[in-house]
């Protein structure tokens, strides 16, 4: 018992030492015109050995560490909220209150904050989309960002080549992403678990490499710039109208120009889109198709024996998830005004997946919280710069120990049986 613990601890410490030596301990640096291997500074070595000591001790006393994690209170969000009929009566008020706050709040804070909130909303959309695929249908998709890219590039290209407006492109982007989801899903969905994960991972990379190299269409690594911002019934949010004779928002309403109108307007669009997505997915989850997704995740063989066509059901989950990403992508392109393949790297897929896992697979509220944490935290941790990913990893480990079922685990709906 204790000897196996000691062995574990030594092993873990050894692995940490090797990894730390390779990753932090030695560094390639230019020395004049040649490359030289440089060791870490004494201070860095102190940190490394400190870290290894932590690993060693936490392995050695893993039982005590577990007890420590167990002692951290787990706030039960479901308990905090009133239950049953009271909740049903309160819910519309709660939702309206949240929406009103969401609408008023941006007028009282700085531009940067509103911008960050918009970014958070994009991640919420992405998280909700991936939740259909991973959380509900149980299909591990590591290339979700590909559909996001398809949505973004669809709008960027249509806007650049045909001058189409954001609002017209929104459904087209979603449809394009859904189309790609369908195309990829068709051959791939008969694969299981790990294999599916690897193929989707590959697909994500293929799309990115394609965008990078198809220079004549996508501009390659230079990306596409000058993408039109969304307008309000034809009113632009620029200082001056792009075309002769067109009227801008501030001129129309006789206000002074302020660049924050544009930011707030984008934020409001994002709020609107997120509300739409939440409503739609909420409906889907309560519809036969949503239940079929979960049933497929629970037991595929039982589904088949009950006459469910698993290919069709998996495809629908994949396609609908992809179209949500396309939606988000279109908005992302409009918000940035500039996109390049750099925005659609694997780490984005990983972050979206982390949001789903952190939030609690299948739970919408959890995903919203997780998306907020995952976008705000990196902003607050800016000074840590290169250690941000390390923090991110630490957060995941702590979460998995503390609340493996996610922030807000999914709750089963209570269906009323109406008896005559």
């Amino acid at each position: 018992m204790t000897s196996s613990k000691l062995y574990n601890a030594i092993f873990a410490a050894g692995i940490s030492l090797i990894l730390a030596c390779l990753m932090i301990g030695v560094k390639l640096d230019t020395d004049g015109s040649t490359l030289a291997v440089k060791g870490a500074t004494t201070e860095q070595w102190m940190w490394i050995f400190g870290g290894i000591a932590v690993v060693f001790l936490s392995q050695l006393f893993s039982a005590q560490v577990d007890a420590l994690f167990g002692a951290i209170p787990k706030p039960n969000f479901q308990k905090v909220l009133p239950q049953g009929e009271k909740m049903a009566a309160l819910k519309p008020w709660l939702i309206s209150a949240v929406i009103v706050v969401m609408l008023i709040w941006p007028f009282m804070v700085s531009r940067g904050t509103v911008d960050l909130a918009t970014l958070t909303l994009i991640y919420i959309m992405l998280g909700l989309g991936l939740n259909i695929v991973v959380g509900l249908a149980g299909l591990l998709d590591l290339g979700f960002v590909a559909f996001y890219a398809v949505g973004a590039y669809t709008y960027a290209l249509l806007s650049q080549y045909f001058g189409m407006s954001f609002w017209a492109c929104l459904p087209i982007s979603a449809a394009m992403a859904a189309g790609f989801g369908f195309l990829l899903g068709f051959p791939v969905l008969r694969l299981r678990g790990d294999y599916l994960a690897i193929v989707t991972l590959g697909f994500g990379e293929i799309i990115r490499i394609l965008l990078n190299n198809w220079t004549s269409l996508t501009g390659g690594p230079n990306g596409i710039s000058g993408i039109a911002k969304p307008g309000l019934f034809g009113l632009e949010f620029n200082r001056r109208a792009k075309e002769e004779g067109a009227v801008t928002f501030h001129e129309y309403f006789g206000m002074d120009y302020s660049s924050s109108y544009k930011v707030i307007f984008l934020y409001l669009i994002a709020v609107l889109l997120v509300i739409c997505v939440i409503y739609l997915i909420n409906r889907l989850m309560r519809m036969p198709i949503g239940r079929a997704w979960e049933a497929l995740r629970e037991d595929e063989i039982a589904c088949r024996s009950l006459g469910l066509n698993r290919t069709a059901i998996k495809l629908s989950a994949f396609t609908l998830g992809a179209s949500t990403a396309g939606f988000a992508g279109c908005f992302f392109a409009a918000r940035q005004g500039f996109i390049s393949p750099e925005s659609f790297v694997f780490i984005e897929s990983a972050i979206i997946l982390a949001i789903v896992v952190l939030g609690g697979m299948g739970s919408q509220v959890g995903i919203i919280f997780a998306a907020i944490i995952m976008t705000i935290l990196p902003e607050m941790a800016r000074e840590f710069a290169e250690y941000r990913m390390l923090l991110f990893g630490l957060l995941m480990v702590v979460m998995m120990r503390w609340r493996p079922e996610g922030l807000v685990p999914m709750k089963r709906p209570n269906l009323e049986l109406k008896q005559q």
């Binding site: 409906r283 889907l284 036969p288 088949r304 024996s305 009950l306 006459g307 109406k418 008896q419």
Partner: protein, 255 residues
């Protein structure tokens, strides 16, 4: 009245060199309880897998009401009215009892995305029908009070009953039960016995049963097939099987 519902001829299933099922014939008439018995590893479950489309039989024909179903996909076969349970309970563990029942009615419900999103009257009506139908069958198997309980939290006997209810809600004509009494206590076995007879007599379906509990099998079966090592050994009614020397030998081993 006693029309042929299922007619299996020369069913053979090979896994590489292993012949798991070898020329099995089965006949199930309307409103009949037919049992398949045999020692462990005889190939009974494999027969079920072939009939329900989980395996594609190497040889043989499977006729369901004059229609060849060998080679069809599993979900196509279950839509034709041939539904099965599993030797090891397969419920949607994390979903509630009522949700399990609704999933089984997937194809009877309105699966049109738009009408569901807009909650059209037609959609609501079908949803209500499905709920009522589910409630009806939960009542039949005595699980109505657990409707909103997670299926995984039910007792083993309740899970077995839920699995049968979940099959029945798909409105099958032939229900195939793979060792439904395994792991049940004598009381539960008796209830199961009554339930199976009720399904035949009141709901007018046929049942194909795999079971090791001989008193259950002998008590309720209209016809019994015995297979040993994949090969048909004997068939007949309970009396004939009980007195068959080959069957006794297969079960008790050579003297």
């Amino acid at each position: 009245m006693s029309q042929l519902l299922l007619d299996v001829n020369g069913l053979t299933m090979r896994f590489g060199g292993l012949v798991a099922v070898n020329g099995v014939n089965l006949k199930v008439k309307n409103r009949q309880i037919v049992s398949v018995i045999g020692p462990n590893g005889a190939g009974k479950t494999t027969v079920f897998n072939c009939l329900s489309g989980f395996y594609i039989p190497t040889e043989g024909s499977v006729m369901l009401k004059d229609e060849q179903i060998a080679g069809l996909k599993d979900y196509q076969i279950s839509r034709k009215g041939l539904v099965r349970t599993f030797q090891h309970v397969r419920l949607f563990q994390k979903m509630t009892v009522i949700e399990n029942m609704l999933v089984a009615q997937h194809r009877h419900m309105n699966t049109n995305l738009l009408s569901g999103l807009l909650k059209t009257p037609n959609y609501r009506r079908l949803e209500k029908d499905a709920m009522n139908h589910a409630a009806h069958w939960l009542e039949e198997v005595g699980l109505l009070e657990f409707a909103n309980r997670e299926a995984g939290n039910l007792s083993y006997g309740q899970q077995r009953r839920l699995e049968i209810a979940r099959c029945m809600v798909t409105q099958p004509e032939l229900l195939m039960l793979d060792e439904p009494a395994a792991g049940l206590n004598p009381n539960e076995t008796k209830e199961l016995d009554e339930l199976i007879i009720k399904l035949r007599d009141e709901h007018e379906i046929s049942i194909l049963l795999i079971e090791h509990d001989m008193s259950l099998v002998m008590g309720i079966s209209d016809h019994i097939y015995v297979i040993a090592q994949g090969t048909p050994l004997a068939d007949g009614n309970a009396e004939q099987i009980k007195g068959n020397a080959d069957v006794i030998k297969a079960y008790l081993g050579e003297e």
